[in-house]
């Protein structure tokens, strides 16, 4: 008879066992804040479709202190999400070859940041241009 009795360790609380996993869970968790902001914007769009009074009401609501605090929390969470997301870029993208040489992971991360900062600046210029 076999004396084998392989022991399978439980996975409970696995994500608390390593700082790397904690970062991963926080990264995934902050995606909910991205979703929350998308809902806020979609709601604004719905109010816009309901006419001027509804739209102005939404704009007023956005200016309330509670809304500003909420937005600051969202901003912090989304910046963290972006930071950890760009960090994963070299893991998730196929190798980028320039002049026959593989581009360094660090450069791919910086490329992501450059694109994000560029897009932010362009958005600000457009919004301020229209205002």
């Amino acid at each position: 008879m076999s004396k084998r009795r392989p022991y399978v360790r439980p996975m409970d609380g696995w994500w608390k066992k390593n700082p790397y996993y904690v970062e991963y869970m926080v990264h995934e968790g902050t995606a909910l804040f991205v979703a929350a902001y998308a809902i806020v914007l979609t709601f604004g769009l719905v109010r816009l479709s309901q006419g001027e009074a509804a739209w102005n009401g939404w704009l007023e609501a956005m200016k309330s202190p509670l809304s500003i605090i909420f937005h600051l929390v969202l901003l912090a969470a989304i910046v963290y999400h972006a930071f950890t997301w760009f960090k994963l870029f070299p893991l998730t993208t196929p190798p980028v070859v320039l002049n026959g040489k593989k581009v360094e992971p660090e450069l791919i991360v910086r490329g992501g940041w450059a694109a994000a900062i560029g897009a932010t600046v362009v958005s600000f210029v457009i919004v301020w241009g229209l205002a």
């Binding site: 004396k3 084998r4 009795r5 392989p6 022991y7 399978v8 360790r9 996975m11 696995w14 994500w15 066992k17 390593n18 790397y20 996993y21 991963y24 995934e28 994963l88 070299p90 893991l91 998730t92 993208t93 196929p94 190798p95 026959g100």
Partner: protein
């Protein structure tokens, strides 16, 4: 002569014949600055308890046998030095996400089955006789896969991957990196068979891009990258079949 330094090594022991579940045991091991954690546990086996069981062979990070969780991190014990932990205690445990057979020996049969399943050998595009000569490959074609050939099957990446722990059927980072290695080889014609596995229920989509597998790899294989590239490849296969005249039918 300076005083003999002593390190505490806490080992997770499991003897299937007498232990209901694993338990910790602490050993006080005298060490010198050139001693690896592997030498530390060898000292325990030779001097304190001959029943302590662990795998090891080459002592130079090439055979991939001595993977252990050292202070909770998957590492090769032979290239991890006691001096880097002293005076703190070192904890040593069997590789995570595998069933423990005894002490630090884990059941690797699941991994071996996955390795077999990805067909880790070249499946020639067309049969070729000796008279026709060797397959020619350019340096650029070689560069496509060379990084993924460095895998030594140490399974540290499996111990680092929570998805492997949560779903033991997931083919996992190491075997998928080898799948990618053969798929990228210009001499190989087995992509269709292997991609079926990559895109399957057990395949690449189990990966949620934690990325720790690539972090712990002692050979810089970057298995996480191989897995994620094949998410894109599997998605391409899925959508492109609608464009092919046969609609993906073989």
């Amino acid at each position: 002569m300076s005083e003999q330094k002593i390190i505490e090594i806490e080992v997770l022991r499991y003897l299937p014949e007498s232990d209901e579940k694993p338990r910790s045991e602490i050993y006080k091991v005298p060490f010198t600055d050139d001693m690896s954690v592997l030498q530390g546990v060898q000292y325990v086996k030779d001097n304190f308890d001959g029943s302590l069981t662990f795998r090891w062979s080459c002592r130079m990070a090439i055979c991939g046998s001595c993977g252990m969780m050292i202070n909770g991190i998957p590492k090769l014990a032979c290239e991890t030095f006691i001096r880097d932990y002293y005076p703190k205690r070192i904890t040593v445990e069997a590789l995570a996400n595998f069933p423990i057979e005894k002490d630090m020996v884990v059941d690797l049969s699941g991994f071996i089955e996955k390795l077999e399943a990805i067909q880790p050998y070249i499946i020639p595009k067309e049969p070729r006789t000796v008279e026709e000569g060797e397959h020619i490959q350019t340096p650029a074609q070689f560069a496509e896969y060379i990084q993924f050939t460095s895998c030594i099957n140490c399974t540290l990446c499996y111990a680092a991957c929570p998805q492997v722990g949560l779903n033991p059927d997931f083919i996992g980072p190491g075997a998928l990196a080898l799948l990618h290695r053969y798929n990228m080889d210009s001499r190989d014609g087995g992509q269709t068979q292997r991609m079926e596995l990559a895109a399957s229920e057990e395949g690449v989509y189990n990966c949620s891009a934690v990325g720790y597998c690539s972090e712990v790899c002692p050979k810089k294989v970057d298995p996480g990258n191989a897995v994620n590239i094949n998410k894109i490849n599997a998605a391409k296969d899925y959508f492109l079949r609608f464009l092919s005249p046969k609609g993906g039918a073989k």
